[in-house]
Structure formats: structure tokens, C-alpha cells
Amino acid sequence: MALWEKKMAYNVLIVDDSATMRALIRKVLVISGFDIGEYFEGGNGREALDILENNWVDIILSDLHMPEMDGETLVQALKKHEMWRHIPVVLITTEARPEVIKPFLNLGVQDYIQKPFRPETIRQKLTGLLGEARTTDASEIESCDF
């Protein structure tokens, strides 16, 4: 690949109180072929804000229901911050009721993915936000045994 064709690597922050769900999301990102620079993980909104204090993050994938600081409080804190307000946020949540999701979209959350999800759904949503991944063969992801 020529130098000018090299795609940027993205730093991703995954926020979920379930360690197994964080591991799964990370795995989906790997098999989807996105050029990921660094992965950061937080168990709640507070931990996510602590990570952001010291690290550059390009996209945040966050759950809604978490102990200590939930996704709603996290999004509100992000949108108040001069730098962090521009970081794209995608909710990965069990909630898909329009009345629950709409306030977040109004707050500036880019998109949401409902659990349960198929790996392909995450890939499609993130492709829209980050651009095409290195792996463009969707069947590779659909048939992936993970």
C-alpha cells in the first residue's frame, strides 16, 4: 500500500460494565478489519472520563446501564466538554425503545446498536462513521465463528 493510501488507525474506547461484552465488542472490531490503534476499556462512565483525561480517543462505544456513572451521565459530561464533545459516540445497549434512545440522539450521540447484535451490524454502523475497514468482504464476518 502506498504511503498516501495508508488509512488512519483509530483509538477506540469501549465502555461497558460487563467484561465479557467488552471482550466481544473488541473481538468484533478485530475481525471486522478496522485499523484500530489503541483499545481502551472502562467499566462505567467515570472510568471512561478518567481514560479520556490522559488519552486521545477517536470513537466511544458505550453501554447505557452501568453502575456508578451510567451512559446518560457520561454523554452529558462529554457534550459539555470543549474537546470531548466532538468524539463520536455509539451506544451499544439493550434499549431500543424510541422514547429511550431519542433523547440521546438529540444530545448528539451518533448512533446506537441494540444488543443482541450480529457482528455485521457493528461493522456497518462503524463503517458509516469511520470509513471502510481493511476487510471489505462481509461474508468473512458473517461466517466468522467467534
Binding site: 460487563s18 467484561a19 465479557t20 461484552m21 471482550a23 466481544l24 473481538k27 446501564h65 453502575p67 445497549t93 439493550t94 434499549e95 431500543a96 425503545r97 422514547e99 429511550v100 441494540q114 444488543k115 443482541p116 447484535f117 450480529r118 465463528d145 467467534f146
Partner: protein, 145 residues
């Protein structure tokens, strides 16, 4: 309500765990060795309810292994507990979507506990569904919250 819960159960198990449950007839039981895991989540609102599920440890291990795409030998207690809570959460979330429930009904944080075979026998749910999942029994229950 139970039909929507059943649909949510199929959706979650098939999508996230590659497991294909079959409904058991009323009174039909599959015997499993204990211990068991019981997880539940409260849907808080004007009339709170609690949705939960109960599985033998062997099925919890299989679910966690399928979820993470690893060998069952790599699954320990924290993963099994985590996966049960996450499954219950997804079931309740899917159920609320299918019910088109108002936003006033809020999902709380799920909890999980271990039950011995004796405790499992005493914890017979009043209202629920039973499924055969790879020849092991998954019990889904609904209680007043």
C-alpha cells in the same frame, strides 16, 4: 406477555450464543447436575416486574464459551456470572422493545446468584417458560418486582 418473552429468548440465544432452544411442554423437565445460576433484572415502573433465568452451571459455561468464541475449559465463574447477567439484560431489553413499553419502565442492574440443586428445587418459578437448550434446561421466569 409470555409469547413476547419467548420470542426475545429465541432472538437472544440464537443471535449471541448460536444456541437454538426448543420449548418444553408444561410439566416437562430436563434433569441437570447442579450447581445452578439464577439471574434476574427488575423492570421498575408503576407495576414493577422481575424477569430472570435459571440454568445449570454446565449450560452457563457453554453460553459463555459460545459468546466469546473460546473453549469451555477457558471459562470460569466470573465469565459465567457475567454472561448470565448480560443475557438477562438483553432478554429484558428485547422484551421491552417488543412490548413497545413506555420509557417510564426502566431496566435496573441485573443480579446473579448461585444455587445448589436443593435450592434450585425450592425456587420453582410461579410463572415462566422452560426451554431445552442443547439437552439442558433453561428456565425463564417472571415475578412481581
Amino acid at each position: 406477555m409470555l409469547a413476547k418473552l419467548k420470542a426475545a429468548t429465541f432472538e437472544v440465544l440464537e443471535t449471541m450464543f448460536f444456541l437454538f432452544p426448543e420449548s418444553l411442554e408444561e410439566g416437562e423437565i430436563l434433569r441437570s447436575q447442579g450447581p445452578f445460576l439464577r439471574s434476574s433484572v427488575t423492570i421498575a415502573g408503576p407495576q414493577s416486574i422481575r424477569i430472570g433465568l435459571q440454568v445449570p452451571q454446565s449450560l452457563a459455561r457453554k453460553m459463555a464459551a459460545n459468546f466469546l468464541g473460546v473453549d469451555e475449559a477457558e471459562i470460569y465463574q466470573p465469565e459465567m456470572e457475567d454472561i448470565l447477567k448480560e443475557t438477562t439484560n438483553m432478554l429484558a431489553g428485547s422484551f421491552l422493545s417488543k412490548m413497545e413499553a413506555p420509557a417510564a419502565l426502566k431496566l435496573q442492574t441485573p443480579i446473579v446468584q448461585w444455587l445448589s440443586a436443593e435450592e434450585q428445587k425450592k425456587n420453582k418459578p410461579e410463572k415462566g417458560l422452560r426451554f431445552d437448550v442443547d439437552e439442558e434446561m433453561l428456565e425463564l421466569f417472571v415475578e412481581k418486582g
